[in-house]
Symmetry: D2
Subunit: 251 residues, 4 copies
């Protein structure tokens, strides 16, 4: 672990399946550069010293080569229709990188992505309804870095409803809970530690509403990238190897 | 610790400040025997082998003598107007018993009771509004014993709003989250482990609505008493004492 | 969910790969009926009303048919050399049953079993050493049911060392921590909630030491089966399905 | 909450009862400037942009005036013989500041200080032995900022034994566990969130051993101050006040 690396630029990759935008004119109108384009833009604006790039499903290896992932500090993931089209080898590669310390931010319908369910070990199912609900996100962890400088509560005027029971392990840190005008609640901001990596699930972002154009949503995402990023990854061994002899600590 | 004690009858005490019922005819109409009377009745019905008694603020030592507490397995606590009237020595006594393994169920406005804030170490403040909201309680821990057999979600047609941020430590187990029709959320069912004791905070129960007459609320309370009760209290030492010599475990 | 089912007999299955016992005379001498046989015997003794059966790797479908698993309340899992020989379809089947509420107790070297790593989402690696350490297990959750009636701390005179960092998610409840005479520590008793199921990892049980013949280890296992068993499984939906209309709760 | 404040210098106060150093020549020899002096020195060295000052029991108001605390970002606390001499009004003042977002680092025998037990709500008792044990601290949270750049495990060649059961609430983040050569374990690095504040308990630091002269201990403390410091405190309300009308979020 080296302090010198702390001044290295933050390398962010936004991954998007990029299907809705090509199939649905309404989505394309909201996100003319794709959801990944909008996310990259807001992150670039909020993280002036970061290098932000994008990758999509249709690229070779979904744009997530071993070389790229090795050089990625934080990966964002948006997917919905194409979960089953993601190659298991790429999923394993991303999973390995999270174990090694890469940050991962999982967005909206990616709750059912292969990478998220593999990290959670549960179904990650939830209840949902498309019905123009108003969603209000309330903080339950005032000291958390991801909430710093965010105007709270966050109100999304119209959004798809995501409701409990959300079948995840209890988050290591629960930071936001949503109220839906239809009567439901949802754990909409959840932090998990897995291996050496930090994982943030953030539920806003249905493709038919301009959620990622809201400045307070952008602020959460910028904060989340900073939080998920570890400038120096711990060198604590996580392989399965025999310990040195009993007197190892005498040296 | 003895298995024999497992067949001993469960001893439950319902404590209530018993002020609203005497000051407000509307409350007295809902709870003619007092809130404590209603709670004792529903617990007696749901726990046929338990001995359920009550105690109130106006009694000597608030009805909570050392002898009574020593013989109490689970204590329920309802208070609001009279928090400041509770003698600090009685609070210390109840606190000690929780540390020793007595169960404690803290209801509604008792979030600001001396005993609860002392156990939490935080302000326990929250946001509130009296405005006839509909409250819906959703489960977030399907395997939890307190939710067993409860028809979910629980709907309280009209209730005082309790909203986040609720200034408590993160619960050891969060089991219920509420939606209010006014737009708020609340962690309405929270389990805490403190010392050898189990503590459950359950927010329903504003005095001007017949909440404790709802059968699903009664079921939660019955389950909570069962959960908070430890038939055999651990004999793991929790005093501050010097350890025996290095070879203690060779004996 | 039905209370009637609470009186149904508890159905326990002990799964063991059953390889060491056939390859190593020293192991066979300690466990002449196999590790599964020893476990089944101690559970039958401690749970008089339970039906305890066994299953092993070499059986068709490893003895874990859909029918058997559907009728299993709690499954114990011991494996080491044969993790890679376990059919992925059987692993998926066990995983599904845990999500639905079956209890699972994962023993010793099964930390690297397919079922455990799949439930955890991490590598589950740890540090280890075979060096005749003395292991002492200390309680850190005195109110936990699994520790009830157990003489603490538990001393295992000679045991394989399992040490931190153990690459698991933070347990939902950490109940035991081990000291090894070589200088290491280990989170040796860990509770996890996944889906509707309860999972307990318990590290004692290296095949070359008579650990499962120690009465306090047996008591932990008996308690763990009771804890992992849910007489009535919650009917809270965990499938991914659209919610009913906005006025669902008006009915 | 203002980002501008992030460049303000970090203000650290080291509080020490300062009794042992005056009563025991051996302690004075290890810490000629007092334990507070040694801590201030190592923090100044590790945090070049911080302003580090000290305060002690014998000063008026124990050196912790309202003005000083209002200007303190992180407070460290070392106490042992004089816990009962600390004025309850000063304790309440420190407690209030933690609720408002001041960081607090509680060291060694301060586990029984009034401020720590008040924040925890439990006895905070533990088992102990003065017997020249070797203590080894192992990491259980590799991604945690407090462990960044620390050579692990940390070995303290001779130290007082602090052992479980340590009667605290389950930490929000458990990051270090100790092995003692006498056979015990201890949760030696524990993070808690209380109100808007961050609290770290770190057990090393018995007065008769030169523990605070070890560079890896110093690194943990420097990291802990950085972690406990919040450059911008959340303005999420934590008072108990009625919520604005139902249409608050329409503005």
């Amino acid at each position: 672990m080296s302090d010198a690396s702390q001044s290295a630029p933050l390398r962010v990759v936004v991954w998007n399946e990029h299907i809705h935008e090509k199939q649905n004119a309404a989505v394309a109108e909201i996100y003319p550069e794709g959801i990944h384009g909008a996310l990259a833009q807001l992150l670039s604006a909020g993280l002036p010293n970061a290098g932000v790039t994008t990758a999509t499903l249709e690229q070779p290896e979904h744009g997530l080569t071993p070389e790229l992932l090795a050089d990625t500090d934080v990966l964002l993931w948006w997917g919905h229709l194409g979960h089953h089209l993601v190659d298991n080898r790429v999923v394993a590669r991303v999973h390995d990188r999270v174990q090694q310390g890469m940050g991962l931010i999982v967005l909206h319908s990616a709750h059912l992505s292969k990478i998220f369910t593999r990290l959670m070990g549960t179904t990650c199912n939830l209840r949902w309804r498309e019905a123009e609900d108003r969603e209000v996100l309330w903080p339950v962890a005032p000291q958390h870095p991801i909430l710093q400088g965010v105007k709270l509560p966050i109100v999304i005027p119209r959004h798809e409803m995501y409701g409990e029971f959300f079948d995840i392990p209890a988050p290591d840190e629960l930071i936001l809970i949503s109220n839906f005008s239809g009567g439901e609640v949802f754990r909409s901001g959840c932090c998990f530690y897995r291996g050496k990596g930090r994982v943030f699930y953030f539920s806003p972002g249905h493709e038919t509403y301009p959620v990622y154009h809201q400045p307070e949503i952008a602020r959460v995402l910028v904060n989340a990238v900073r939080w998920a990023h570890q400038p120096a990854i711990s060198d604590i061994p996580t392989d399965s190897s025999p310990e040195s002899p009993v007197d190892w600590y005498q040296a």
